[in-house]
């Protein structure tokens, strides 16, 4: 497993549980990339019917099991989501969206304007209505990754951080034989690319084309507050932003409280490569939207902001499963902003494939060779 973020951790966990000998290698620390910058959204509410929603529904079920097994340390909260619309047209769009989701097993309840404040007392007045999604949940991503890895290690997996994979070794038949790192050679008939936003680089080491691009996001963190936001609350625009391929800045705040007290406000989306410069435009817009949805937050202090890079593939679906072009190379990356939520299902599917079991889901939509080779993975904005 290359990558010790939440996806690599879940892959290691399920593979070790299936009895495989597993080594996890990461050039940074545990949860040092996008996982450590994530909010921990386990969402079905923002997904239209299709392969990603199937993955999310499977993952939600697995997260419930994992939460029991890993205990309170991972801060799993099945708190539900509330999507609000500011106009009647927006509410109608939500209605249509929810009707499609209901057909595949997503629970959603329409909340008329006058009842929104029963769910969220501090919401701004004048909204047109919303939808309540009881299945949406939350974990603390870094803790989730660390505890999955701890369990994997208890089952015999090895973890090596601060070790960089420098080459993927292949035999004369083109099949993967292992990796070389800056410290050693690791022999393995299967290598899993769980390097998230850096997935294109690892794929290239194995001679495969995978156009993963970073999509930058900022999250604002307020001072600790009593619980003023009970659910994951976001405006209907968020769904459109997630599905957009635009390189330009998009913001639509998801606002939520945390067990520690701070309210998280995130996240913006823009394609600017791995640029870490703070965008005052992005954080300003996030703040303005949060204050518009929850006026009580206007006078609250923002303590810090952090940024991360979502691993984004052109069709917004992850790459999961063995690469048809390189036997032994498995991809588990490109989950964009949904990696925390989709990690367990990804890990389970990878371990099923590794052990030759029949897969719970059809992996065809997630094939790594679905992109034409002309899509340049190192595209600059």
């Amino acid at each position: 497993m290359v990558g010790a973020g939440v996806v690599g951790a879940a892959c290691a966990y399920y593979a070790a549980r299936a009895g495989l000998a597993v080594a996890v290698v990461d050039r940074g620390p545990v949860a040092g990339g996008t996982t450590g910058a994530g909010e921990g959204n386990l969402l079905v509410s923002d997904k239209e019917p299709g392969p990603e929603l199937d993955l999310a529904l499977l993952s939600l079920r697995l997260w419930r099991e994992l939460a029991e097994q890993l205990g309170p340390a991972v801060e799993y909260e099945p708190k539900g989501g509330v999507v609000v619309a500011s106009t009647a047209a927006g509410q109608q769009a939500l209605r249509d969206f929810a009707a499609g989701q209901a057909a595949v097993g997503v629970s959603a309840e329409e909340v008329p304007a006058e009842r929104l404040h029963e769910l969220e007392p501090h919401l701004a007045p004048g909204l047109a209505g919303g939808y309540h999604y009881p299945q949406d949940a939350q974990v603390q991503p870094a803790l989730a990754a660390a505890h999955l890895l701890r369990e994997a290690r208890r089952m015999g997996a090895e973890l090596s951080t601060g070790e960089t994979v420098t080459a993927v070794e292949r035999g004369p038949d083109g099949a993967v034989r292992g990796v070389r790192t800056d410290r050693r050679r690791l022999a393995a008939p299967a290598v899993v690319n769980a390097t998230g936003a850096w997935g294109a680089e690892l794929a290239a080491l194995a001679g495969a084309h995978l156009p993963v691009l970073p999509r930058r996001g900022f999250v604002l963190v307020t001072e600790p507050l009593p619980r003023v936001v009970r659910h994951k609350v976001y405006s209907a625009d968020y769904v459109a932003d997630v599905a957009s391929g635009s390189a330009g800045l998009q913001t639509s705040s998801v606002i939520e409280g945390t067990p520690g007290g701070p309210v998280l406000i995130g996240a913006s989306r823009e394609r600017v490569g791995f640029d870490r410069t703070i965008s005052h435009e992005a954080i300003g817009r996030l703040a303005a939207e949060a204050a518009a949805l929850f006026p009580v937050l206007a006078q609250v202090a923002v303590m810090r902001t952090y940024r991360g890079f979502r691993p984004y593939l052109p069709d917004h679906l992850p790459a999961i499963g063995e690469d048809p072009r390189v036997p032994g190379l498995y991809h588990a990356c490109g989950h964009e902003g949904a990696g925390i939520g989709l990690a367990p299902a990804t890990g389970l599917l990878i371990s099923e494939q590794l052990t030759g079991k029949r897969s719970e889901l059809d992996l065809a939509p997630f094939r790594a060779d679905r992109f034409p080779a002309s899509t340049d993975p190192l595209e600059k904005p």
Binding site: H147, L220, P224, H280, E281, R285, A287, A288, A298, V300
Partner: protein, 461 residues
């Protein structure tokens, strides 16, 4: 919303302590239109701290070295047409723009609006904050920082207690102890972790700064007169008390600062002033990608060239931000940076003085570098992060069982450093406990908390 386009200054100086004051006055003398920003209402910074108005303090100079240097600079600043002081301006971020910098300011939590100051160049003179190392009992009332004790004295004319142990490491301890006894406190001991031997290794550097020797001797003789005992190579390894501190345990330290068993002795006191030197406050620059260096004291400071330019074009830095070295060095660097920004050659004597003082600062820094053995006085239940109440045991669990090997991962897994101080207090301890080697600078995109409404106002600017 401020709608009128704000003036573009030639220079914005952030921080009105010795370096910033000297820089603003000098730059204005050299023809630059400059603005001096500080979170406090008055100039002076931490070093030239004013007694609170209303206390009727007749002689603030008695608590200060170099008060005359301050009043001279302050008078020149007030008289200057080209320099302007804006107090109550807390800078939370610098942003590069086409014509220089946007300096983002909060006027405090009550302010309805945010303010943005525009300038072609920026000089960072944001000084330093105290390095804290935790020990059992350090969160008890009556335990204050060494700098905090001096600040209480200078600003409030009050003492943190009657019988005050001064402990930690660094030249600030002698200065603090000397001020405290001067104000009538009983100081039973100054407990210094280093051996002071580091100074003696480079006598040439010491001899080149006679003023420093005189200053040190001044503190020393004041302490001798009051019967203060100096305990080198020792540390307070525990503070005792229920509702407030009633005494401390002092132990001798080995060369790596590990406490030596069997050397513990108790000293009764009703206050403890403790500090382990100062750390440069540089996040405004590192957020712009400015490169840093690790000083001989282990502290991360900005990397500057001979003309005090950082690696960010248009951004200069003077004083403690370049490595802690005291007020005289800060004054010299402020003046020097102003010359560089104005494109004027500085006097040779100024260059020489700065070089001498900087060399001395490096020597001091090396002498007071914390040894890795200090963690030997921690107990599993000692809080490391007091904002989020994270004890040593939780940090060790994150490192030993959860795979954290650096401060950022420890923070993610334990919340250490996520509270009000944003890791300024626990950062050095967490870095040490995480086993990190050569940790980079702390990242703080917001240098201070900003009300959400003020952040939001930026979106439509």
């Amino acid at each position: 919303m401020p709608t009128s386009p704000s003036e573009l200054f030639d220079l914005a100086v952030v921080g009105a302590g010795p370096a910033g004051l000297a820089a603003a006055v000098t730059a204005a003398d050299l023809g630059l239109r400059c603005v001096l920003l500080d979170g406090a209402d008055r100039t002076g910074g931490q070093y030239y701290r004013h007694p609170a108005p209303g206390l009727g303090a007749a002689r603030p100079d008695r608590l200060h070295h170099g008060w005359a240097a301050y009043t001279g600079l302050a008078a020149r600043l007030t008289a200057h047409r080209r320099a302007e002081f804006r107090g109550g301006h807390q800078v939370w971020a610098l942003e590069r723009t086409e014509d220089g910098f946007a300096v983002h300011v909060t006027l405090g939590p009550e302010a309805a609006e945010r303010t943005t100051v525009r300038a072609r160049t920026v000089l960072l003179a944001t000084g330093a904050y105290e390095r804290q190392l935790p020990f059992p009992g350090w969160t008890l009332p009556g335990v204050v920082t060494a700098g905090g004790a001096q600040a209480m004295l200078k600003a409030g004319l009050v003492l943190p207690g009657r019988r005050i142990v001064v402990a930690g490491s660094g030249p600030l301890l002698l200065a603090a102890a000397s001020s405290l006894v001067g104000a009538g406190a009983d100081v039973p001991a100054v407990v210094e972790a280093s051996g002071y031997l580091g100074y003696a290794r480079r006598p040439g550097v010491l001899a080149a700064v006679p003023a420093k020797l005189v200053e040190g001797a001044g503190h020393g003789s004041a302490l001798l007169r009051h019967g203060v005992r100096l305990r080198p190579r020792s540390a307070v390894v525990e503070a005792h008390g229920d509702e407030r501190v009633t005494g401390v345990t002092v132990a001798r330290l080995g060369a790596d600062w590990r406490p030596l068993p069997g050397t513990e002795r108790r000293i009764d006191c009703d206050a403890l002033a403790v500090g382990h030197g100062l750390l440069p406050q540089i996040e405004l620059a590192t957020e712009l990608g400015a490169q840093t260096r690790t000083g001989p004291d282990g502290a991360v400071a900005l990397r500057v060239d001979a003309r005090l330019r950082t690696t960010v074009p248009g951004l200069w830095s003077a004083g403690e931000t370049n490595g802690v070295g005291g007020a005289d060095l800060a004054l010299a660097e402020g003046e020097l940076a102003a010359h560089a920004i104005a494109g004027e050659p500085p006097e040779r004597a100024l260059l020489r003085r700065r070089a001498r003082l900087r060399a001395f600062a490096e020597l001091m820094a090396a002498a007071h570098r914390p040894g890795p053995g200090w963690t030997g006085w921690l107990r599993p239940d000692t809080d490391v992060c007091r904002c989020e109440e994270v004890p040593v045991a939780r940090i060790r669990e994150a490192v030993e069982e959860l795979g954290a090997g650096d401060p950022r991962t420890v923070k993610l897994l334990t919340r250490a450093g996520m509270g009000w101080c944003q890791g300024r207090m626990c950062g050095p301890a967490v870095a040490c406990l995480s086993g990190a080697t050569g940790a980079g600078p702390d990242r703080r995109p917001l240098a201070c908390p900003v009300p959400l409404s003020q952040l939001a106002a930026g979106a439509s600017e």
